[in-house]
Structures are given as C-alpha cells and as structure tokens.
C-alpha cells in the first residue's frame, strides 16, 4: 500500500518529479526503509490508457506549460514555445522514451583531459569515472531489463532496422545491431515482451518498455514507504536561517498551495524545470537562487547534437511497424578528431507516424518538394543522430523577465546555439547517414533538422570544485547539504549516448549515499 504522509512530517525525503531520476531514486530509498514523498506535477495515467495516436498522445502526456526560446537553434524559429518534447505525468519522460540504454565511454567522463580546451566550450571532467559507475550501471541494466546485458536476448530487427543494417554493412560499419534496449524481448520482471506495435513514443500499452510508472513506482509503493502525489506542482523550495532546506511549496490541481516539510529535498524535474525551480526559490539569503554560488545553475544547457536522416526507396519499408528505435550503429561514437570534431555520435533508427512526419520532416517546409516526400511515406526509412554536444555557458535556462505561469512563477526561457563542433559533427553524421541509405538504393534522402529537445542535460552540473558547478559527485549541491539533484541536469558533459541509463545509474548510486548519510546522521 502507498503510504500517505502528513504535510508536517519533516522526516521524509521529498523528491520532485517521478521520471527516470526521481522515480528510480524514490524506489531505491523506499527499498532501504526510508520514507519518501514524490511530488509529481502531472497526473497518473496507467499504461492501458496510453493512446496509439501521435497528437492525441502528445496532448495526453507532454509538458505544455508556457516556455519561450532564444538563440540560434532552428527550434527557436520553428517551435518557439516548445524547446523540449518531455512529459508531465507520473513516470515522466520514461513514458515517451524509446528505450536505448548505452553506457558512457571512459573518456566521456574526462572531456577536458581528452579533448583539451576548446574555444567557446565550458568543458570539465566529471568528478567520477566509468569505474565508479560500473557496478551501478550493472544494477541499472538489470533493473531496466536492458537487452544484450544480463543474458537478455536482443530484440528482433524490424524493416527499418533491416534497411539500416544493410546500409551499415555496405559502409563497413562493424558495430550495428538491434541495440541495448530497455524493452523486454521476452517476458521479464512481470512485464510482457515487445509486440512490435510501433508506438514507443506514445507510451507502451503493453508495458514491455521500462518506465518508472509501472516498475519503480509500484515496487516502491509496495514497501509502504513511498507516496507518489500526482498533480502536485512544486513552485518553491524553502530553507531555514541556517541555509538548510526545510520543505517545498506545491500547487494542487486547483492551484491551491501546500507546504510539504522534508528532511531532504531531491530535485528531478528534468533539465529545464530543475534549474528553474532553484532559480525561482531565491531568497534574501540566496538572492541568485538556491545552490547557485557558482552562478552555474541553468547554464551549460545541453541537448545532444541531433538530427535525422530519412530516405525514400523504390519499394515499401513500413518503418513505423515495430520498435521505434530498432537498431544502433556505434562505430562513429569514438573520439577521432581527424573527422574534424571532438567526441562522437551514435546512429539509431527512428520512425515517425504520418502526422509527426509532416510536422518534423522539414518544419516550415511546403510545396511539391515537401509533399512528394510525404507521398512516399510507406517507402521511407529513418535514423536519428545523437552525438555529444559542447557545454556552453550562454546556452541556458533562465527565468523569463516578464512572463509568469499559472501559479505566478516566472516561466523558463531556453536559449541554445550550436557550437562549431556541434555543427561539424552534425554535418558529418548527415553525410554518413545519407551515404548509408544511398548505398542501399535510396532515391532521395533528407537531412532533417533537430526536433524539440528530448534529451535535456547539464543545467546543474557536477563538479569537483564548488566554483565550477552546482553539485558534487553524489549529486548533492555544493552549497546545501540536504539538497540534491537527481536527474540529467547533473551531467557535466553529455557523452554520445542517450542519457537515461546514466540518469538511472546515478540515482541508484545517490540512494546509497543518501541512506549512508542519513544513517550517519550527517544530514
């Protein structure tokens, strides 16, 4: 049974957000016998109620509160109020996600050392290494049921994968398979195997894909020590005169404010809301926002260097059938500066349904060049590029100077401009992706610009020194001992890999640390 906690119970750990970071941390702490309240802005929608329809699902799950954008990225022009495609619901963006689960490479924890100083980039080494995370990566892979780990079989390849693989072979790529996916290839952990329905981005109606919604959260609730409170939008974190956080103020469905007391507060609202909340929690003691003595809260916003390549063939592909992300090429994920950029990228198959293809193939595009591509929809194959982007101080989540949300709090403005390294990498990847499809007979191919950000990282980054970042190697803020960051905003740098496995890994590790500190009475 889920345990309801009193608002004045100041012994609980409050976690803000129930996605990859928050949902995992909540369960891990509850398993250790720690009392946890997870406050989640969105509502609880169980997987049976997900919708196999792109726009309807978007309306059901996406975070649609007002946001603005700035900077040189094309998203600012094409989707000025949708910087990111992320979720507001119990389970967070793990409802929408595709499931690709790759470990960071060793050098990706040491960017500054490996790449050296790069003009315009705010590079830093992580205060942890791959070796520190390995045992936790192993736990995360087991928890999430990642294919090709723990003896779990890979998923079968769909049509989109087969085209991708044939092209990869032609180009001489060696590391191409159906990937490491947190999607059951067979029944496991009480969840069934993938039925190849092809609506992974709309929430898996079979529960085959891992999401905190129907794994971590019910498991935590079963301990009797975890309460998930949906429709609870945190607007402010409170602190006492000693500078320790004491609780959070949140709005319920009716906009009514409540204060939940806490012994520890963990922020896991994803990389736009987490820094926004710290900034909005400014006080006379912390005029620049909580945990912001470094001035780095909200800075170094990363979103991965992305883009897609779609191609049209003479004969049908039906790429939308089966897993959305059905295969990965890792050969380009290495660091090889001879390609004209530092860091690397993954190529991963991707498909969109007809409605989203129209919106994202060439945002703003129209006329026969556009529609003739759409006419060939069944003959299309597609892939997504995900590469390491450079942290830059001016790429940032800031509070909007005038606009307020429904609770009267300043809305976030998300500003992003590609670094020259990002552009060089994307162009290289476009060229490789187009070559791959041409090698298997593509008639036309399309270098499709990045979508609104699905990976949002770095805005409360981890650093050895308090002056360089917001949190230490445990995700504990440098400034406030009982305030933690538990999501992807901790990332010092982004790596080439999809981030969620690493977010989950850090959450498991953080839970050990918090439990240890609580037992020792240090927080």
């Amino acid at each position: 049974m889920a345990a309801p906690y009193d608002l004045n119970d100041d012994s609980v750990v409050v976690i803000i957000g129930s996605g990859a970071g928050g949902g995992t941390l909540g369960n891990e702490l509850a398993q250790k016998g720690i009392d946890v309240v997870v406050l989640e802005a969105g509502s609880r929608i169980e997987y049976e109620d997900f919708i196999n329809d792109e726009w309807e699902s978007f309306a059901q799950l996406a975070w649609l509160d007002h946001r603005t954008t700035g900077g040189g990225w094309r998203v600012h022009k094409d989707f000025p109020n949708l910087p990111a495609w992320i979720v507001k619901a119990v389970g967070g963006t793990t409802t929408h996600w595709a499931g690709a689960s790759l470990r960071f490479q060793e050098h990706e924890f040491k960017d500054l050392t490996t790449y050296g100083k790069i003009e315009g980039a705010n590079l830093l080494d992580w205060p942890i290494t791959l070796a520190d995370l390995e045992p936790y990566y192993a736990k995360a892979e087991d928890k999430m049921g990642v294919t090709r780990t723990n003896g779990i079989e890979g998923l079968p390849g769909n049509n989109n994968f087969k085209v991708f693989k044939a092209g990869a072979d032609k180009l001489g790529y060696k590391e191409c398979n159906t990937g490491r996916m947190a999607i059951n290839s067979a029944e496991r952990d009480g969840r069934m195997g993938c039925q190849q329905t092809g609506f992974c981005f709309q929430g898996c109606k079979w529960g085959a894909k891992w999401s905190t919604l129907y794994t971590e959260i019910p498991k935590g609730e079963a301990t009797g020590r975890l309460e998930v409170r949906p429709n609870s939008h945190v607007v402010k974190i409170e602190h006492d005169k000693a500078g320790k956080v004491t609780g959070v103020v949140y709005a319920d469905t009716d906009g009514k404010l409540h204060e939940q007391k806490a012994r520890i507060v963990c922020v896991a609202g994803n990389s736009i809301e987490s820094p926004r909340l710290l900034l909005n929690s400014h006080s006379s003691m912390f005029p620049d926002g909580l945990a912001n003595s470094s001035g780095q809260v909200g800075k170094n916003y990363m979103r991965h260097t992305t883009g897609s390549v779609y191609a049209v063939f003479e004969k049908p592909v039906h790429m939308y059938r089966g897993t959305t992300m059905a295969g990965i090429i890792r050969d380009e994920a290495i660091h090889d500066p001879s390609r004209g950029f530092v860091g690397g990228y993954e190529l991963e198959t991707l498909s969109l349904g007809l409605p989203f293809m129209a919106a994202f193939l060439d945002p703003g595009g129209w006329g026969r060049s556009f529609t003739s591509a759409m006419d060939n929809y069944p003959n299309m194959a597609g892939m997504w590029i995900v590469g390491e982007d450079m942290p830059q101080e001016q790429n940032a989540v800031k509070l909007h100077p005038e606009l307020k949300d429904q609770y009267g709090m300043p809305i976030p403005d998300v500003s992003f401009t590609d670094h020259p390294n990002d552009i060089a990498m994307r162009n290289h990847a476009y060229q490789r992706g187009q070559a791959l499809y041409e090698a298997v007979g593509a008639i036309r191919s399309f270098p499709t610009p990045p979508y609104p950000s699905t990976h949002n990282l770095g805005t409360n980054r981890m650093s050895e020194k308090a002056s360089d970042g917001v949190v230490n190697k445990w995700g504990q803020t440098h400034d406030i001992r009982n305030l933690f960051i538990s999501d992807g905003s901790q990332f010092t740098t982004g790596g080439a890999e999809n981030p969620t496995l690493t977010i989950v890994t850090l959450a498991i590790r953080q839970a050990d640390h918090i439990a240890g500190e609580m037992a020792a009475g240090t927080i």
Partner: protein
C-alpha cells in the same frame, strides 16, 4: 465528419451556371462552399464563403497531394473559420491575407490563376507573413492528422488493438 456535410439536394446545372464556379470545382451558395462534383458542402460562419473557397485552394497549393480530394482540404481549413468566429483579430488576419493574395493575383483573383506555379510564386513572396504562417502551421496538423487520409498515404495508424505488428509484417521486407 460533421463539418463537411453531404450535399444531398444536388444542384441543377442552371443554378450552377448562375452562381458561377470557383476554380473548376467549387461553388458558393449562401454561406456555404459546395463541391457539386463530390457532393459536399462546407458552411462558413465567420469568414466569407469566398474566403473559405480560396483557403481550400491555398491549402492544396501549400500541401499539394494530387491523390487527395478537395474535401480533405476543406476539412483541414474549417478550423480557420472556427477560430475566426472566436477571435476577431484572427478573422481580420485571414480576410486581409486572402484579400492580399487576390490583389497580388490581379483581376481574376487568386483562384482565377489557372496554374499552380503562378499561385505558388505569389506564396513564395508571402511565406514569412503571419497570415501564411498561421495557415500553414495549422494545416500541417489539420490535414495530415485526418485519419481518413492515412490509408491513402499507406500509414496504418493505431496498432495495439490488432496486437501490434509482431505477426503482421514488422520484418516482412523482401527487396533488400
């Protein structure tokens, strides 16, 4: 779809001639745009019916799919009328935008230009205007999100109720 109703009455040839045709296929009667050939009519409330008729042609010029009947474009622009009814500023945006297209097209108006290329040349000049952006931005959803057109594009839509594609061809590609 209720917004486009079937035109059961039918229209006599004489009436047709009296009312005059729009482009080749659409006519205007009262507050409705009617396609006698395909037997449907679209009632307008806030926008002039002539404006709606031009919007339908404009919609096809923006996203030309020869395999799609006018009906789908009519459904797709219907939302402009609804928005215009709620918001006078939107009504002005659309009416002025269409009037501007007609002015640019010369004596016969936008719909009077017989070649798509000529109409598109005008659109290229106004594609950054708020009017064009509003029409295109809405259309990209209102056209491609019509479930009725998905089969025409070979998109199969919802698949959960059919048990996914695990036994229905997720890996059936033969030509590689």
């Amino acid at each position: 779809m209720a917004m486009v109703h079937e035109n059961r009455r039918g229209i006599s040839r004489r009436e047709l001639l009296k009312r005059g045709t729009i482009g080749a296929a659409l006519i205007i009667s009262g507050r409705a745009v009617i396609s006698p050939r395909d037997a449907w009519g679209l009632e307008t409330t806030a926008l002039k019916p002539e404006t709606t008729a031009t919007l339908i042609v404009l919609a096809r010029d923006i996203y030309p799919h020869d395999q799609l009947a006018d009906r789908f474009y009519a459904i797709a622009v219907k939302g402009q009328d609804a928005k215009a009814a709620e918001d006078p500023a939107h009504r002005t945006l659309i009416e002025d935008g269409i009037a501007d297209l007609d002015r640019r097209a010369g004596s016969g108006g936008y719909r009077g230009l017989g070649w798509e290329d000529d109409r598109v040349a005008i659109l290229r000049d106004i594609e950054t205007t708020p009017f064009f952006q509003a029409v295109r931005g809405d259309l990209v959803v209102s056209l491609y999100n019509q479930k009725e057109i998905w089969p025409i594009f070979g998109y199969e839509g919802e698949s959960y109720s059919k048990g996914g594609y695990i036994d229905r061809g997720f890996n059936d590609i033969q030509w590689l």
